[in-house]
């Protein structure tokens, strides 16, 4: 791999190597540009991954560690924010694309014009996107074919038109999928095989999934999960123009008096400060980390933080909303085997004014419990917590349970936001992000309504016991969306329709932060389609000498 000197002015710095950063790095380096990718986490690969639930799930082996990088949280600005982990991201080369569940559906055409279709929602900043599904379609297709997505084109009647089928057939159906499919058909719904960023067959030199079952929160030892680490980052490195510099925690994007960015200051793995120069910067650190970095990069010319003349940096933070409902079945399901999800419905995806609120959901059949999490929280709330009866139930339920997970809308609300905590610092002395988030009343109504649909499905599936979980605790968000929203109006948005900062021509912000609405969660496909499109725009601008 090529090594650039920090004093060398490279064409692009890409901050973050996840779902978006990995794609951008590959696109720009194959287009002929010199690229340095600055990644907070380590550069570890499939040989380093394992099935260690305690290490990965509880010791933060490949995700942000709140002991080192704390955050604070409050529900509104008049409340004092308190410590406690509220956001999660993959902290390694490949970012969240390494540890995600790998659900990989496209947003629907109406997602991009939903404000016009549905109408205004009081108390929200609900808006149309400045791009359409048709404009993004070629980039969705490119992502699916370059990264490797398994699925069945045409099986979801609510999907938008597509120019090509999926490159790979769906993964095998699981017992949960069979029961879910049977039940939803009985209810007149339209189940379809889950589109997954996991290879059902060998593809582009990578092996197929062997159904070990350790996908969600884990890295894939087989390179079968289509993370950027397994797919596009090796292509970027092969160009000889892209350096993946891991263990580099960016503390400031440097800008000059002319209002352009000039590079990034980071702590290297030994916590020494380094300044890497560049002609342009692509910020792909995720909806919280990117907002934090822009706010930390204030200067005389940009006193409120970079790219923040609108005051919108960090605002409109949308959460990973959804609810789990579990059911017990007579025969063994052995859901711990294979990918977490094999069947999905989008029947309740579209918002319907007749329900009396804005909202919708995708629902999937899944088992995203692993032994420890199931032992701690997987049994029904009324189950014994210890003793012989607890032990007996644990032994029976682990192999006989599956859950439905809803992926719910999170309305954009301007006062839901990320800013810098005035007093709490991380282990590097940088301000901790302060998250302010409160559910919109329609989010609450939607969650209650969707939960009833999930119970109906499990009833129709023949569950002998069904149990739900409380909906009022929003928990830890793993989809970090909306904080640097995309728009045509520089007074109301941070980036333009090509993810280019309105205020700074040589700064692109490409991650979940640019999403205008939350879709029905599962934003990775859309983030990556936007990344392909933004990289193309950045390359064109660079070729024209604009950067």
């Amino acid at each position: 791999m090529i090594r650039y000197k920090p004093s060398e002015v490279v064409d692009f710095i890409v901050i973050g190597s996840g779902a978006a950063g990995g794609v951008v790095a590959k696109e720009l380096s194959t287009a002929g540009f010199s690229v340095v990718v600055l990644e907070q986490g380590p550069y570890i690969k499939e040989k380093d991954f394992n099935h260690d639930e305690f290490g990965v799930g509880f010791q933060h082996d490949i995700s942000n560690n709140p002991k080192l990088q704390p955050n604070t949280f409050r529900t509104n600005a008049s409340e004092a924010a308190t410590l406690g982990q509220r956001y999660n991201y993959g902290r390694l080369v490949g970012g969240g694309s390494v540890h995600f569940t790998a659900n990989y559906w496209r947003f629907h055409p109406d997602d991009f014009r939903e404000r016009s279709v549905f109408g205004d929602v009081p108390g929200s900043s609900f808006s149309d996107w400045p791009v359409t599904y048709d404009e993004l379609e070629p980039y969705y297709t490119k992502a699916e074919w370059e990264l490797g997505i398994s699925g069945l084109a045409g099986s979801n009647p609510f999907d938008g038109p597509r120019s090509r089928p999926y490159p790979l057939p769906p993964l095998p159906v699981k017992s949960s999928g069979v029961l879910f499919e049977r039940a939803t058909k009985k209810l007149g719904l339209h189940p379809f095989p889950a589109p997954m960023a996991v290879l059902s067959q060998p593809y582009l030199g990578r092996g197929a999934c062997v159904h070990c079952g350790w996908c969600e929160t884990f890295g894939c030892e087989m390179r079968a999960k289509s993370s950027t680490l397994a797919s596009v980052i090796p292509m970027a490195e092969k160009t000889g123009r892209c350096e993946i510099r891991s263990g580099c925690y960016v503390r400031r994007i440097q800008s000059n008096a002319a209002g352009r960015v000039t590079g990034a200051v980071y702590f290297d793995s030994r916590r020494r400060e380094v300044f890497q120069k560049s002609r342009a910067v692509v910020l792909s650190a995720n909806g919280v980390e990117s907002a934090k970095l822009l706010l930390m990069s204030a200067s005389k010319r940009f006193p409120n933080g970079l790219a923040n003349s609108s005051g919108m940096v960090g605002k409109n933070f949308m959460w990973d909303l959804g609810g789990l409902v579990s059911g017990l079945f007579d025969h063994p399901l052995n859901e711990y085997k294979s990918v977490q999800v094999s069947r999905v419905i989008h029947d309740y995806y579209a918002a319907d004014p007749k329900r009396g609120f804005y909202g919708g959901a995708g629902i999937d059949a899944r088992f995203d419990w692993f032994p420890i999490t199931f032992g701690l929280d997987g049994l029904p709330p009324d189950a014994p917590k210890w003793g012989a009866d607890y032990k007996k139930m644990l032994g029976n339920y682990f192999t006989h349970t599956f859950s439905t997970l809803s992926h719910n809308t999170s309305l954009s609300v301007e006062t839901n936001m990320v800013d810098l905590d005035p007093s709490v610092k991380d282990s590097w002395g940088l301000p901790a992000p302060r998250l302010t988030f409160q559910l919109h009343p329609d989010d609450v109504k939607n969650a209650e309504w969707v939960q009833k649909r999930q119970v109906e499905i499990l009833e129709a599936a023949g569950a002998t016991k069904i149990w739900t979980y409380p909906l009022d605790d929003v928990g830890i968000s793993t989809h970090l969306m909306g904080t640097m929203r995309m728009g045509n109006d520089p007074a109301r948005s941070v980036v333009n329709r090509f993810n280019r900062a309105h205020d700074i021509p040589n700064l692109f912000i490409v991650d979940g932060s640019s999403l205008v609405t939350s879709g029905r969660q599962q934003p990775t496909a859309t983030i990556q389609a936007l990344a392909y499109r933004a990289a193309e725009a950045a390359a064109e601008a660079a070729k024209k000498g604009e950067l």
Binding site: N50, H331, P332, I372, A388, Y390, F398
Partner: protein, 178 residues
């Protein structure tokens, strides 16, 4: 590289190191009580007696056979050092309760099972017991490399077969659908 070669290389990379580490730990844990790194042996046996009521050894291995106490010892020596005080005060309170409820008893480990259950009912809402429950379950179900789940008895109990690869059908219903 064929799929089989890929599988084998992944096996040698991931699970063999897991197994080696687990065997080492299990071996050192079995050798003697000196395997405790933080807990005094007497305290370890008392805590273990409570853990054994959370996941009892009733015909099949429980917390005791899984070596959950070694997971707890390791936790308090390393990643949960800041929770030592909860154990110290929690264990002292449990001993006090034991002396009140069963004045003839000498130790928690010496209680009859029914006595231990009665005692735990009185402390199950405490921070100490909730933490002990969390640690015991973690120890029972984490990879053996962390000190517990020795011989993978925790995974055997829940019906998890730990393999690098499976073939469909995975369960009853997808098998019946074929």
């Amino acid at each position: 590289m064929t799929r089989r070669e890929l599988l084998l290389s992944a096996l040698s990379a991931a699970t063999l190191s897991d197994i080696a580490s687990a065997q080492q730990h299990a071996q050192s844990a079995k050798e003697s009580d000196a395997a405790f790194r933080y807990l005094a042996t007497a305290d370890a046996r008392e805590i273990e007696a409570l853990a054994a009521q959370i996941i009892p050894s009733d015909g099949t291995p429980g917390a005791k056979e899984a070596g959950c106490i070694h997971f707890i010892d390791r936790a308090l020596e390393t990643f949960d050092r800041e929770k030592r005080e909860i154990y110290r005060t929690g264990l002292a309170a449990a001993q006090k309760k034991r002396a009140e409820l069963f004045p003839q008893s000498q130790t928690l480990a010496g209680l009859e099972s029914s006595q231990a259950i009665e005692l735990i009912r009185g402390i199950e809402q405490t921070e100490f017991f909730k933490l002990l429950r969390t640690h015991t379950i973690m120890g029972f179900l984490a990879t053996p490399a962390w000190g517990g789940n020795q011989g993978m008895v925790g995974w055997a109990h829940i019906g998890l077969e730990h393999k690098m690869a499976f073939q469909p059908p995975f369960g009853y219903y997808d098998g019946a659908a074929k």
